[in-house]
């Protein structure tokens, strides 16, 4: 871990001008991922811009009546237990509580969670020679290495890492909007466009530019608060990353599915959604055979490696069981 400068701006403008003037700086929120990566030598910022004095920790109803705005610095534990979240977006509360440990959730923020980096072993340890994400052009150690936790969808031969976040999977199913402030003012990115697939540039996890800062996450008003859930499969009962997870948000009226959104975690470089698969649920009655077809459509094109073959049947089972449980 290198020596560094530490600054703690009091307002957003100062934070943004600091990041512009110190391109090797990093924003510090909860620090639960950044400090880890720093100690490992993956991150080596010369300046730490501590944004914890910027406010940005509100959890408040949107003026549209029904939607919710969550500040980028709201702590994961505060979001998970907030009554507006547990009542309207149980899937988000469940996803947050399925992640990490109470201590980590107390420190980790919503903005930081959006920026969480992969747990790929070959990325996390710079003493592994090959990682295109950490060191573009150096190859992918996971491709022919121990790839049990790696992607089965949307990967490239440059990178088969997965996004490790539970929260982001729920946000994807909730179609959250990410509010960002940068040098040219504010912009909003749909969660589906926030994380990216590795393609030829696996070093880029998101579409956030280096001089921008996440300020808030907006959730649209829920259509239905009953029929949504987060399902996570892991190697032990707590404090383990998802092997596969699913966030399912259904609208059900008069015994029929009126809307459906399914996001998968642990399978791709970003939360994985397939609109065509979700469309198959429109207007149908909940039924296992349909759910199995939806799962197959979601996993169409899945490709596994030596150690992660299990993820394809596991993801299928997670989707089917998740849909059965959410629609019950």
């Amino acid at each position: 871990m290198n020596a560094f400068a530490y600054v703690r701006p009091k307002d957003l403008d100062s934070a943004l001008s600091l990041i512009r003037s110190t391109p090797k700086a990093r924003f510090l929120a909860g620090g639960t991922n950044l400090l880890d990566l720093w100690k490992m030598g993956v991150e080596q910022p010369d300046t730490l811009i501590d944004i914890n004095r910027l406010g940005l920790s509100q959890i408040a109803e949107l003026p549209d009546g029904g939607g919710l705005s969550i500040g980028a610095l709201a702590r994961n534990s505060d979001v998970a237990t907030h009554s507006l979240v547990t009542e309207r977006y149980p899937v988000l509360s469940q996803a947050l509580l399925a992640g990490a440990s109470p201590q980590l959730r107390n420190a980790a923020t919503v903005g930081g969670n959006l920026m969480q980096r992969t747990r790929c072993y070959y990325f996390y340890d710079p003493n592994f020679p090959c990682c295109n994400k950490r060191d573009p052009g150096s190859g992918c150690g996971a491709l022919n290495g121990f790839n049990r936790i790696h992607a089965i969808l949307g990967q490239s031969d440059q990178c088969i890492a997965t996004n490790p976040s539970d929260m982001c999977v729920a946000l994807a199913a909730l179609e959250a909007k990410i509010h960002i402030t940068g040098p040219s003012g504010e912009r909003v990115i749909a969660i589906a466009d926030f994380h990216r697939l590795p393609g030829e540039q696996p070093e880029l996890d998101t579409t956030l530019r280096p001089d921008e800062l996440i300020t808030a996450v907006d959730l649209p008003a829920p259509a239905d608060t009953k029929h949504n859930l987060y399902l996570k499969i892991r190697d032990r009962s707590s404090f383990a990353f998802a092997l596969v997870s699913a966030a399912i948000v259904l609208g059900i009226g008069e015994g029929q599915i009126t809307s459906a959104r399914i996001a998968l975690g642990g399978v791709a470089h970003k939360p994985w959604r397939v609109p065509e698969a979700e469309a198959m649920l429109q207007g149908v009655k909940p039924d296992r055979a349909t759910f199995e077809k939806v799962a197959d459509r979601l996993l169409q094109g899945a490709h596994a490696y030596r150690y992660n073959q299990y993820k394809i049947p596991l993801a299928r089972n997670v989707v089917v069981r998740g849909l059965l449980a959410a629609s019950a």
Binding site: M1, N2, A3, G41, R119, Y121, Y122, D125, N127, F128, P129, G141, N144, G145, F146, R148, I233, R234, D235, R236, S237, S238, F239, A240, F241, L243, Y307, N308, Q309, Y310, K311, P313, L314, N317, V318, V320, R321
Partner: protein
């Protein structure tokens, strides 16, 4: 031995005497020790698994803030090779000394150390050091190099690794297929992962006198290693370790890091602290090697074992030949006339392995007890019934009677507590309300008992306090408490008046903390010291001009409640302190020694147990949860039921971890560990501990063990449990998993 006067302390539940110090932070661990002028060290480690170092470029590191010096092969002191008794092949630890040559044998090997003012400065500078290598042949694939295996004779200098009796081959060739089990079981590399990492603080008083505060389970052994390596007189090396934050088999023996700390302190002439990081705990202090175990079982028409063959393929590092003795107890757990055990060892570019949590027994009994389950299914016998039919009435491997064995009572009692008799033998026949498959499995547990030579010194002061010293260890298991109980019981003084001191080479010798033999070894020495003190004290009370109990018969004096008294004469009781004062003594000192007696030639000493497990398996997801455990153990006399239960709770939980999640994973192309952290190396969390946990002890003293009849219970909990879990998973699902850990990927869609 005189009967204790206060027979209510041993065998009763007592809270830890060191508990408050630990939870308040008052307990001082090696890394906590403060002294003036401490410099901090950080290791420079190899990032290549095999080859030679061409150049260590430290030019940038030397200029970095706070850096005092960098120690590498270039400026390392010439260390003396360790003598045979500390370095013979098969002994645990790594006797290759640091920084003496340019060879690289595994990833993470220590190549140098940066010494700086602060830990952070040292770490930062170490990260800037660049090492150029000449790569060598890479050996990381156990099966791929199996044809180069050697067949070592002994593990730990005493455990037979190649053995046979009868004619296994003949039986095998003549037994019908439906009475044979022929299967391969495997266990992964595992790391001990105690919560306290390795830590050392080296202080040289002068060129010839070294003190090392270190987290070790062998202060005397560490002293010998340091004295040998630096060519010092043994009495000029002092090693101190009053608390160990767990070791589970690591932290003994010779490891590079504490020698490096001593060499670094000598180089800069200041105290040097070297604390390992979590990641370094995976490559700097041993690990359990992977095992691939081929098992053959044959049974006759009555369900009795006719032949048993167990061949283990495992690995050590390139510099040492420690062998995980997985087959050792296959020789004797069941009655079987024809047995063949074999161990093959491949030297690979991985760090040096060493004992870990029931070395040999844990992986070996997993294989044996899984194979027994498979045999029971083949023979259409209840798994418990198969074990009863093959009960060993003596130790057939050494042709000795058991010192004491009540395994059948463990089976009976455990089965009844668990409700085993209502088990439906058909697999995949039960589901819970959530649709999860329910399975029941069981296994036998066994662990050898031993006594090693030990000594203790006891001092009674004229303020009534009793201080007892022995160079033994507190690994978190309760040594302070148990030994205090022995002193309290033997001298009739309240536990509060007794202070037990340990972990210092200036105290009388005690063995390493391992092999579950601490209590069986040290308690008899403590008792002997107490008895000697009592004799001296009674002499003071009876003899001499100022003696307070003149004229009383020796046998009529009683020590109880911190006082000496007699019923025979109308003399008032007298506090022990007053006996000293009245006779003008400041203090009274006695020593005691104990060691294994003739019984060890005559009998086979083993602890036994039976463990029953209920699992729930989600058939879609492959997630396994242990819902219920019943373990019944025959471990001799129980000294402290509260702490004994805690140890078994921990041991069985280790077993659950071994069964379901633990595993160190090397990257085969580089030999580097991919999960050297507690985020990705999974140990059980509190919610993995089963909600229903029954642990019982038969509490039958072993008549042939010295002193109290306690045989030892440190490691038996992890033995048997992994097989019981695997057998329960088979019963739940109908799928046999022979490769640990049984993670969801192996069970998805069962």
């Amino acid at each position: 031995m005189a009967m204790p006067d206060n027979p209510t302390v041993i065998g009763t539940p007592r809270q830890r005497v060191d508990g408050k110090a630990k939870v308040t932070g008052a307990a001082i661990y090696a890394a906590d020790v403060k002294t003036d002028g401490i410099a901090n060290a950080y290791l420079i480690q190899s990032t290549l698994a095999s080859g030679r170092v061409i150049e260590i470029d430290q030019s940038q590191a030397e200029k970095m803030p706070g850096v005092f010096a960098i120690l590498t092969q270039r400026n390392a002191p010439k260390l003396q090779p360790l003598p045979e008794e500390l370095s013979a092949n098969g002994l645990p630890g790594e006797s290759r000394l640091p920084f003496q040559d340019d060879r690289v044998y595994y990833q993470g090997q220590h190549l140098g150390v940066v010494i700086a003012e602060t830990f952070e400065q040292a770490r930062d500078a170490a990260a800037s050091v660049r090492v150029r290598y000449q790569p060598g042949e890479l050996r990381t694939d156990l099966e791929g190099f199996a044809q180069q295996a050697i067949e070592p004779r002994l593990a730990l200098g005493r455990i037979k690794l190649q053995d046979k009796r009868g004619d296994v081959d003949w039986v095998w060739a003549n037994m019908p297929q439906d009475r044979l089990v022929d299967a391969v079981y495997s266990t992964p590399i595992e790391n001990h992962n105690p919560i306290e990492p390795g830590a050392a603080l080296a202080i040289w008083e002068d060129q010839d006198h070294l003190t090392l505060h270190v987290s070790t389970r062998g202060v005397d052994l560490t002293q010998r290693v340091l004295a040998a390596a630096f060519g010092l007189l043994i009495q000029n090396v002092r090693v101190i370790c009053p608390f160990i934050g767990g070791h589970f088999g690591s932290k003994g023996f010779s490891w590079s890091y504490f020698i490096v700390a001593a060499a670094a302190a000598r180089l800069i002439n200041r105290p040097v602290r070297l604390v390992l990081t979590r990641s370094q705990m995976f490559d700097s202090m041993g690990q359990r090697a992977r095992t691939v175990q081929s098992f053959g079982l044959a049974a006759d028409e009555t369900g009795k074992l006719a032949a048993l063959k167990h061949s283990t393929l495992t690995h050590s590092s390139m510099v040492y030949q420690y062998t995980e003795p997985a087959g050792a107890l296959t020789r004797l757990l069941y009655a079987c006339p024809n047995i063949q055990i074999n161990h093959r060892l491949v030297q690979l570019n991985y760090t040096t392995p060493c004992p870990m949590r029931a070395p040999g027994e844990a992986p070996g009994i997993f294989a044996l007890e899984s194979a027994m389950d498979e045999l029971a299914i083949k023979l259409n016998l209840d798994p418990l019934e198969l074990r009863l039919r093959n009960h060993a009435d003596k130790d057939d491997s050494e042709q000795k009677p058991w010192s004491s064995k009540h395994l059948k009572e463990c089976y009976d009692h455990g089965a009844s507590k668990f409700g085993w008799s209502s088990r439906n033998p058909h697999p995949a026949s039960a589901r819970d309300k959530d649709g999860r498959l329910v399975g029941w499995g069981m296994a036998t547990a066994i662990y050898p008992a031993r006594q090693e030579p030990a000594a203790a010194r006891i001092t009674l002061a004229n303020d009534g306090s009793v201080v007892v010293q022995s160079a033994t260890h507190e690994a978190g298991t309760g040594t302070y408490t148990a030994m205090t109980q022995f002193v309290s019981e033997n001298l009739g003084v309240p536990m509060e008046q007794v202070r037990f001191e340990l972990g210092d080479t200036q105290f009388p010798h005690a063995p390493v903390n391992g092999g579950s033999f601490l209590t069986a070894s040290v308690a008899p020495a403590v008792t002997a010291a107490c008895n000697n003190l009592r004799d001296k004290l009674i002499s003071l009370a009876l003899d001499g001009p100022a003696a307070p109990f003149t004229g009383v018969a020796r046998g009529d004096l009683v020590l109880a409640d911190g006082r000496i008294s007699t019923q025979k004469k109308s003399l008032p009781p007298m506090a022990l302190a007053d006996v000293l004062s009245k006779t003008n003594n400041q203090q009274l000192v006695a020593e005691g020694e104990a060691g294994p007696g003739d019984a060890y030639q005559k009998f086979a000493f083993y602890s036994f147990g039976a463990v029953f497990v209920e699992v729930r398996v989600d058939p879609d997801f492959g997630e396994v949860r242990v819902a219920r455990v019943v373990g019944v153990y025959d471990v001799g006399k129980i000294i402290n039921p509260m702490l004994a239960r805690s140890q078994l709770l921990g041991g069985i939980t280790f077993g659950i971890g071994m069964a379901l999640m633990e595993g160190t994973i090397p990257d085969i192309p580089t030999g580097r560990i991919v999960n050297s952290n507690l985020s990705e190396y999974h140990v059980p969390v509190s919610t993995d501990v089963p909600p229903e946990f029954t642990i019982e002890f038969l509490d039958i003293p072993d008549p042939n063990m010295a002193d109290s009849g306690a045989r030892g219970l440190g490691e038996i909990g992890i033995v048997g449990t992994p097989a019981a879990v695997a057998n329960a998973i088979y019963h739940a699902t109908g799928k046999r998993i022979r490769d640990l850990p049984i993670t969801p990927d192996k069970l998805v869609g069962v």
